[in-house]
Subunit: 418 residues, 2 copies
């Protein structure tokens, strides 16, 4: 079977499975999710063996250490995947919920019912745990899923998908609800981009390059996820202790994630007081600081931040700092460089807080809190499939509700249009 | 200025205007909408003169009569456009509505506020009234709009846009909230397809060819609208009088619209009784009937319906009829040929009605009513920008709420992530 045939055959099977899955009871879906979790744990040895092949291949091919770490599976990580599936089983089933049924003057009862999207294509990079996470969320929301993971994780992904698909089928779900594209050739992704007939949506999970490739080439509707060049603005009227804690948390609590801070904007009135303190703290946390010329004047030995720095999502222990004249200059900076993910103001001033909330265009806008909270779990949505940075369909953390659509249902008794 | 420059310049201005428009009060937006309505009426002569140029050009170039009719403006139609703007002014402002603000265990107050999409690109065909309708809906929902109408209507569209833009600006809206691409070259549309930097969404309004071109070529997110190959299934347990009235209404009340019926499916048990009656009625309404072989056996002189007929959105006084063995065969037919717009079952049987509602995958699924009701006004949404036949973001009639997105706003008091 050639690459194109493989993708189309699997997408077709997924489409067929999706039709059957759309009306399956929560009881059966939850039973399948729990069986998948159990089966993952029972298959730990087999999955770890497959993962060792990927790790060996990755090491031989000089995969960088952070990527190897993402690729690595351990007994604990497999338990984590199983636990994730069990948590998804606990979530309320979104499917079938009727929103806003109203009676019209002519007697028609018109409502909207939540239904699955259909087949969701997920294109992701090296992390094999995405395989189980995405499959669980898609199934719970009544969708079939066509997975396409990174080539580095192909053996791990095959092992995990085989376990999940078998457990789902044996628990009573239709055959084909979880499919993995096994071809690691790029052509496979190109085929997925044009499969409007079988795929209802594509969700890329990975770096900016992957996301741009999907957005630029897919005719299937895409939900963009994840790039976060996040800012925190410390206002002249900030509580500086709070500002310090939030800055350290947003930058250093975890750096390789999209909701971590990349640029700190500091009001000029407090720059002389605040910068020496915060830069000292950041250095204690092994964080490299780059600064604008005004930062360089206040603190010695600061590397110059360039235009490129303002636009960079470091995902690392690096922070760009800029001194601004006022809130308006902070807003302009954010407007220019933000990827519209998460932005925060630290201030005790009511009017400035409201202005920031009103004027910043981003998925999540914070007053006096760390941007690190932009996360499905933290927002109370349960597990998340990703964080949308686009405006259509879903914005911000996407839980299972965001993997659904609505259809209008209309109960009549013979109404015709005049 | 070349074509590309024109489009980019206007899109850029629209983006700038959109930022200002996003936080403008309802009072000011409504004032502008009413001023636009008044100014349209005051400029009737000038708009009609521009329209005469388009009509003359269209006639000289052999534009078919139905297209000329869509292109034609009259005093009454201009009043209709003005009235439409006044109705949009009456709608509640969707912007700023806070949905579901909740307090999390850590004290963060997390809510979602409804905000505009930004800049909406509308690509449409010959009907110049779309210019005013779309502009009104976009402005009310806080969006700037970049319009690109059909070349046949260019003079009418220019005249209408000039009037609207001037009135909006004089009423106090930012400059550039309503823009028309004046180049009638196809290159202009190609440029719009790739303007992700300035356009937040593209909405095509027109025939299947236009919609497909936009879906296949745009990297800007698209909301697909409108193609409706709608079915009505008359069950063996239908009230046949009701079935007759609904069939006639769905097919003949207005034929050139996407929610009219194109194929009638009739259960075999009632076919011999129902078909002669309904075909007679349809003929009285000048409707050409095409039928499957079973229809041809029951009624004389029926043209054979081909595979192509089942897939055709006639938008005309033509109806394809097929006799089916049962509900399942009707569901399979709909599943195969439906464009997922509007589908109806006529039955007195409760279980079959629920099964149809559950299993049909379409924007609107009806029991015992005409598919002609799929319309923003009829559904109680106020005016509509189109009917989405896709699943992402919006499905079915799209009113002003569907021209918005959300952003999360988070009120903290120093929270950091553990």
């Amino acid at each position: 079977m050639n690459i194109k045939e493989e993708v189309i055959t699997k997408a077709k099977e997924a489409k067929k499975a999706a039709k059957a899955l759309a009306n399956i009871s929560s009881v059966l879906k939850n039973k399948a999710l729990l069986a998948m979790a159990d089966e993952l744990e029972r298959s730990t040895e087999e999955i770890l063996a497959a993962n060792r092949e990927d790790m060996d291949f990755g090491r031989d091919n000089g995969l960088p250490e952070p990527l190897l770490d993402r690729l690595l599976l351990t007994e604990e990580r497999i338990e984590g995947m199983a636990q994730g599936l069990r948590e998804v089983a606990q979530l309320d089933d979104p499917i079938g919920e009727v929103l806003e049924m109203k009676k019209r003057p002519n007697g028609l009862k018109i409502g909207q019912v939540r239904v699955p999207l259909g087949v969701i294509g997920i294109i992701y990079e090296a992390r094999p745990n995405v395989t189980a996470d995405a499959a669980g969320l898609c199934l719970k929301s009544g969708n079939a899923v066509l997975l396409r993971g990174g080539s580095n994780a192909i053996n791990s992904n095959k092992a995990i998908t085989n376990v999940l698909a078998k457990a789902a089928y044996e628990a009573g779900l239709p055959e084909g609800v979880v499919q993995l594209v096994e071809s690691t050739d790029r052509e496979a992704v190109q085929v997925m981009f044009k499969l409007n007939k079988y795929l209802d949506v594509l969700i890329p999970r990975g770096g900016a390059g992957l996301i741009q490739a999907v957005v630029n080439n897919s005719t299937v509707p895409v939900i963009e996820t994840g790039v976060g060049n996040c800012h925190t603005y410390i206002d002249s009227e900030a509580d500086l202790d709070m500002a310090k804690d939030i800055t350290i948390n947003a930058k250093t609590q975890r750096t390789g994630v999209c909701n971590s801070m990349e640029t700190l904007l500091v009001h000029e009135d407090i720059a002389e007081e605040f910068l020496p303190i915060i830069i000292e703290e950041l250095k204690n946390k092994d964080t490299l600081v780059k600064g604008c010329s005004r930062v360089q004047k206040i603190v010695d030995n600061i590397e110059a931040a360039t235009e490129e720095d303002w636009a960079t999502e470091y995902l690392d222990y690096i922070l760009a700092i800029r001194v601004v004249n006022d809130l308006d200059e902070a807003l302009s900076h954010i407007d220019k460089y933000s990827t519209k993910h998460s932005e925060a103001i630290i201030t005790e001033n009511y009017t400035k807080a409201q202005k920031f909330l009103d004027l910043v265009d981003a998925a999540a806008v914070y007053v006096n809190a760390s941007t690190r909270f932009t996360d499905g779990g933290q927002f109370g949505l349960g597990a998340e499939i990703g964080i949308s940075t686009q405006k259509l369909h879903a914005r911000g953390p996407m839980g299972i509700n965001q993997l659904t659509t609505n259809k209008y249902i209309i109960y009549g008794n013979g109404q015709i249009r005049e």
